[in-house]
């Protein structure tokens, strides 16, 4: 197990190094001159030159890369052009909103997709199976942002069931920040009304994001369950006279879990990245919307910081999935 972990961590290190090179190259492609931006709008030529020296832009590319690596490992991602605050601060204040939305969507998709996949597998080619097939097709074909707009049209404008966007209704104070996730913070503060309001605002964006996850997860659950249900031990469990529910949930699902967990992990990463679209549609104050605004304002430091953070989280989640493998299936470690 230990060797497996070390190897996996080393790989993560290599990947991150590779990614940092790619992102560094991208930041050098940017047409705007960082020195000019840093020096300000009315800077003279000498001031820009001074800023260039200060930022190290007059040195060779490999030197600049090392400086960039040092800065990033200190958590220094530069300063936002708009807010003038350090990029890392901007990202950390907006991150809980994104995390809450992604977690909500992940939980919701799991609750829908896994039972759907199991039902589709146990009654193969039955009506549930067809429903799951159509759901999956819709889920992968719907553009997230357009689906979000359609939800707003139906559930906000015509039915007025859910709010248009945002995290809380105006007039509702955010709960004292402990985790930054309003659902958990309002629970900790025992403020029921805030909890309901926060959940209320989560429904539409959460649903809009969940399409793909439900599609992929339910298909994977179905395929994996079908594979397992054919096995001998399932037949033995049935022959022992165990109730079907127990056979499916205790004997089959556990063994079918490995691919499902993989997909779940990968999807969580994808949800974090898909947040850019959903948050833009629903005015959700997370890092995705921050990035969207950075695009509009040509705020490159924020955009690159966002890319770096999300990519880092993405690989971290993949690592976590791999580690989960080790626990779910001890045979993997041996290899």
């Amino acid at each position: 197990m230990l060797i497996f972990m070390i190897r996996r961590l080393a790989f993560l290190g290599l990947t991150l190094l590779g990614m940092s090179i790619v992102l560094f190259v991208i930041t050098r492609l940017i047409p705007a001159d960082p020195a000019r931006i840093a020096a300000g709008e009315y800077a003279t030529r000498e001031m820009i030159q001074a800023a260039r020296v200060e930022l190290g832009l007059d040195r060779s590319l490999p030197e600049q890369y090392v400086m960039y690596l040092r800065a990033v490992s200190r958590g220094d991602l530069g300063r936002s052009v708009q807010s003038r605050r350090p990029v890392l601060d901007d990202l950390t204040t907006h991150f809980p909103a994104t995390l809450e939305l992604s977690l909500f969507s992940l939980v919701f998709s799991t609750l829908v997709a896994i039972p759907l996949g199991i039902a589709a597998a146990t009654r193969r080619n039955g009506s549930v199976d067809h429903v799951s097939r159509v759901t999956a097709l819709l889920g992968i074909s719907l553009p997230i942002f357009w689906f979000g707009l359609m939800l707003q049209l139906v559930f906000y404008k015509h039915l007025s069931w859910f709010p248009y966007g945002g995290r809380l209704s105006s007039g509702v104070d955010a709960p004292a920040a402990v985790t930054g996730l309003y659902v958990i913070d309002s629970l900790l503060a025992l403020r029921g009304a805030v909890l309901v309001d926060a959940l209320w605002h989560l429904v539409m964006p959460g649903l809009a994001m969940s399409g793909i996850t439900i599609a992929v997860l339910s298909r994977m659950t179905r395929a994996s369950m079908l594979e397992v249900l054919r096995r001998e031990y399932v037949r033995v469990a049935r022959a022992k006279g165990l109730p079907e529910r127990r056979v499916i949930y205790r004997h089959a699902l556990r063994n079918a879990a490995l691919p499902i967990v993989t997909v779940l992990g990968i999807q969580f990463g994808i949800l974090l990245t898909g947040a850019v679209l959903t948050e833009t549609v629903f005015s959700w104050p997370g890092i995705g919307r921050l990035a969207f605004k950075a695009i509009e304002a040509l705020d490159y430091p924020v955009l690159m910081g966002f890319a770096l953070l999300v990519t880092f989280l993405f690989s971290l989640i993949n690592l976590a999935v791999d580690v989960c493998y080790g626990f779910l299936d001890p045979r993997i470690v041996v290899r």
Binding site: M19, S141, F145, Y156, V276, I295, T311
Partner: protein, 256 residues
């Protein structure tokens, strides 16, 4: 079927588009769908139906370029690496590992933002991101196929490695390549529209579908048809590709 209709629309919009997608009619702003304007009109009185039909050109052409470029580069690097050059194989696969560990949308955002927002740059960025998937696919296929007896026979007859790779090995990879490209095509259409939506793809007045939705979004609550129909076009396209891809897979590999 769906894909065929879309291709006709992309190649020959005149067959569908009854009017000029850029013609302004100041007195016909934001009209609801009617006989005259099947899908309504936009904020400056342009016919939305025509715009959606002409939009197919932009969306589909860009997606086609992305998939073809990615498949071409991927096949070349993956195939040659797997069959001939260990060093190339090692370089290609390690860079593929790194590229694949980026979330595609984020990588595309960073690249396009750096290059400057436009549909061409969006397509370029996606092609850069996409080739490793094809390199991996072709590599694994080539490794499997080159173990087979008919390849040994070809080697035994003294054919050159290039000829064997191009004439004997690669044709056996086309099936899975076709399936993957079809499925990817839909996904790329989706991503291109998403990039346009966040302001990193096609810019108005180009009637690209994602860009249409971006502009139409401001009118969502009062003029529902504006963002609805371009989105429907994307949805139908992607669904068509997914169905076609699945169909192709069943056709090429009935056991799977």
């Amino acid at each position: 079927m769906i894909v065929a209709v879309l291709l006709v629309a992309a190649v020959l919009p005149a067959a569908f588009g009854p009017s000029d997608p850029l013609a302004l009619h100041g007195d016909a702003r934001l009209l609801p769908p009617s006989h005259q304007h099947w899908l309504g009109t936009d904020e400056v009185g342009r016919d939305l139906y025509s715009r959606v039909v002409y939009g197919a050109q932009y969306s589909l052409r860009a997606a086609l370029i992305v998939v073809m470029a990615a498949a071409g580069i991927g096949t070349l690097l993956g195939g040659v690496g797997a069959y001939r050059s260990r060093i190339l194989d090692e370089i290609v696969m390690r860079s593929a590992d790194i590229m694949l560990s980026f979330p595609p949308l984020i990588m595309a955002m960073a690249l396009v933002a750096a290059l400057g927002p436009s549909l061409e740059h969006a397509a370029l960025a996606l092609a850069v991101i996409w080739w490793p998937q094809y390199a991996r696919l072709v590599r694994s296929q080539v490794l499997t196929v080159s173990e087979m007896t008919f390849v040994e026979a070809a080697v035994a007859t003294g054919l050159g490695p290039w000829r064997i790779l191009v004439r004997h090995i690669l044709p056996n990879c086309w099936g899975s390549l076709a399936v993957k490209s079809t499925l990817d095509f839909g996904y790329v259409v989706l991503l291109l529209a998403a990039l346009s939506f966040i302001g990193l793809g096609a810019r108005p007045p180009i009637p690209e579908w994602g860009a249409l939705i971006t502009t139409g979004r401001q009118y969502l609550l009062d003029y529902w048809w504006y963002p609805t129909f371009p989105g429907l076009a994307i949805f139908v396209t992607v669904m068509g590709c997914n169905l076609l891809g699945d169909g192709l897979r069943d056709f090429l590999d009935p056991q799977g």
